[in-house]
Symmetry: C2
Subunit: 426 residues, 2 copies
């Protein structure tokens, strides 16, 4: 008896979801070695098909240019042969990670002799809905398969040909492996109705991960009957405490704001203890301005930086994720005021304190309810790779299931395993 024989689907998306469920059940029964080998075959197939993938990408690029796309957007879409080799290398890195499955932890022996533990198992079927960058097609497939899941991929129309070529290569690699080919499926249409149908397959799909702009994530959350892992905006804060050394503060603030301003873990609002402000703010402001950063300050900041080019911040600025060379700056009375500001305006993404006072560092880390909280380090470290998770499939800003950067382990769950010798309940 094969589960697939018993299934009947009323439309192609439902049929795809059912095939994914069957593939996930088969994958879950394999051992870690088989999954690792499958990922290595996937990587080899990507390399073997690099010319075809680059050709497909050229079709997407010229369509994008015809539609007036240019600059950074066009670069995000570009994937040449050397780029495909890098994508394959990233798949091999995921393959080399420890098997996340099967380990049992939190073991206890109950008074009646039952041995109880929690075993890590796959989630099942994951649907990824994403925009732009075609490398996500391979990254997401590798992470989901490493965790024993099946994945349904629905990329954006702008990368239609690239995604199809990458998925074809991946499936060709899987065909040589023990992992079923249908563990990786690409929705082969850019029809938006297909997404809505996908989001109704709660019987077959366990998790939806949207990756893209806030509009995409809100639309998916609104429509989905399946749990959604959300990655909303990052309004990240640094609080410069009274005792923060000037040079450390300047270096970290500059790094957090300037090194890559367009990403979610870049600094957006700087909070400065009023005692430290006269010492650190003029120096930091000078360096930021030299790097082309526009400053928008509270009235104390404007007064302190008299003569410098500082705009007056409005209430809207405290809410803003600029993703650009703009920084909001506010002088606060003390750490409690900084905590209040973050609780009110923060997005629960990433915040840092710069301080020499260990007890303040500890208090800040405990009190801030954000997914990553740092002491004396740049907010830019809020990243799965930097925090030691290996590659990341996203950064969750909702607290359910996973909070913050998500790696392979965050694509698993745990079941209770219980060993007895005849125990019954009385």
């Amino acid at each position: 008896m094969s589960a697939s024989e018993q299934l009947s689907a009323s439309n192609p998306i439902e049929a795809m979801a059912q095939r994914a469920r069957v593939a996930a059940l088969e994958s879950a029964r394999l051992d870690g070695g088989a999954r690792r080998a499958a990922l290595e075959l996937m990587a080899a197939a990507l390399e073997a098909n690099k010319a075809q993938i680059a050709e497909a990408n050229a079709l997407d690029l010229s369509a994008a240019e015809e539609n007036g796309v240019s600059g950074a957007m066009l670069n995000r879409l570009r994937l040449d042969e050397a780029g495909v080799v890098k994508v394959a290398a990233a798949v091999r890195e995921v393959a080399a990670q420890d098997d996340p499955l099967g380990a049992v932890d939190d073991e206890v022996v109950r008074p009646n002799g039952l041995r109880v533990g929690r075993m890590r198992i796959p989630l099942g079927v994951v649907a990824m809905i994403y925009e732009s960058r075609p490398n996500v097609t391979a990254d997401a497939a590798a992470l989901c398969l490493k965790a024993g899941n099946a994945v349904i991929l629905r990329g954006g129309s702008e990368a239609f040909y690239s995604n199809r070529a990458i998925a074809d290569a991946i499936r060709a690699g899987l065909a040589e492996s023990k992992v079923p080919v249908d563990a990786v499926q690409l929705v082969g249409t850019t029809d938006r109705a297909a997404i809505n149908t996908l989001l109704e397959q709660e019987e077959w799909i366990d998790l939806v991960i949207p990756r893209g702009g806030e509009g995409l994530i809100r639309a998916v959350t609104e429509k989905s009957r399946i749990p959604v892992l959300q990655h909303y905006k990052g309004v990240c804060h640094i609080f410069i405490d009274e005792s923060a050394p000037t040079s450390l503060a300047a270096e970290i603030v500059l790094n957090a704001k300037v090194q890559r301003p367009g990403v979610c873990n870049a600094l957006e609002t700087l909070l400065v203890h009023k005692v430290a402000a006269p010492r650190v703010l003029p120096i930091i402001a000078e360096q930021l301005t030299a790097d082309g950063v526009e400053l928008r300050g509270c009235s104390d900041t404007v007064a302190l930086l008299e003569g410098a080019e500082v705009g007056e911040a409005t209430e809207d600025d405290w809410h803003e994720e600029y993703l650009d060379l703009i920084l909001a700056v506010r002088v606060v009375d003390n750490m409690e005021a900084a905590l209040d500001h973050i609780a009110k305006y923060g997005s629960s993404h990433t915040e840092a304190i710069l301080t020499e006072d260990q007890s303040n560092g500890g208090r800040f880390v405990s009190a801030v309810q954000s997914s990553t909280v740092l002491v004396n380090a740049s907010t830019r470290f809020a990243d799965g790779g930097e925090l030691g998770l290996g590659a990341e499939i996203g950064i969750s800003t909702s607290k359910l299931h996973a909070f913050g950067p998500m790696g392979v382990r965050e694509l698993t769950t745990r079941k209770f395993v219980v060993f007895g010798d005849g125990q019954i309940r009385t």
Copy 2:
């Protein structure tokens, strides 16, 4: 600056959700001792108000009787003074549990010297939507508060007066504590529109837990923009392997089916290895029948139990959660066939294997993707208390966040905490 001053709500439910968020942020800044003391004050207030609560319950009981409710349903609703004392004792047990918050684990030191760990923190605001049993009002409040959360409670109309009296007592207890009173709020209307409004407060509420019938859970899942923890049906299986001792098998099957047939971890389908079937089935069938259990068997079962009263099982029986003294029985060729049956008909709740073969036990535990998998023990142990979690707030049958029985820890999440000495990203 107080966050509550800044809030403006367009309706009472939104205002309630905003107050809960403020209370949750305040609770999260308290230490474990303050939360424990608050729970003890809650318990004392329940005891002090036991007469008022029992009186309120009498109003609900007479309304229910007028509506024709009787028997088990009426008993579920009943809460006399002695019952309130038990409810208070349950709150004290939760109070006595270890503080789940603040511990840091999974610590690593990155090559750049960053020390990275994961600290356990509250989820924030939990909404419980439940039917019947008024003790859930106190249990849910205690579990949520122990984990540092605020909770919004919306009980069923049948327990309206009881729930209000319990919530009033709890809030009176909290008023003596450091935990804000608004950490526990009861939706004071049985208007169904209030639920829909509640499910739209994704900005203020982090998790919804519906507890009740499948209709309630589906309706909440359909409407909610907030993550929902689902507790669907339990079609629980026991597989009697070739080597299972007869007496152990008979005792466990009887316990799993008969001890409390109306609950989600009761046995619904028995699978028997064809070699063991002639040895164990006649004995088990005789004991079950003597206890009033109706058997519905596959054709092999019917043939084996010739003469006994066994109905012919239909395809529908394999899907059924009877919650009654009925058992579906199927003879299977081997363990793989049992695994296939469970994958196809199971509800991912709880399954057990009875075997003397340790390797089969291990394989079954690994292969079955259900929230609790047992070897040589009754399915009735799939329960937070029995598995050592303390009291449970529900049993999740979806794999996101928590899978299986959920205790206090499952009402928390983890954030990344990072300690550096000036690291920047290059």
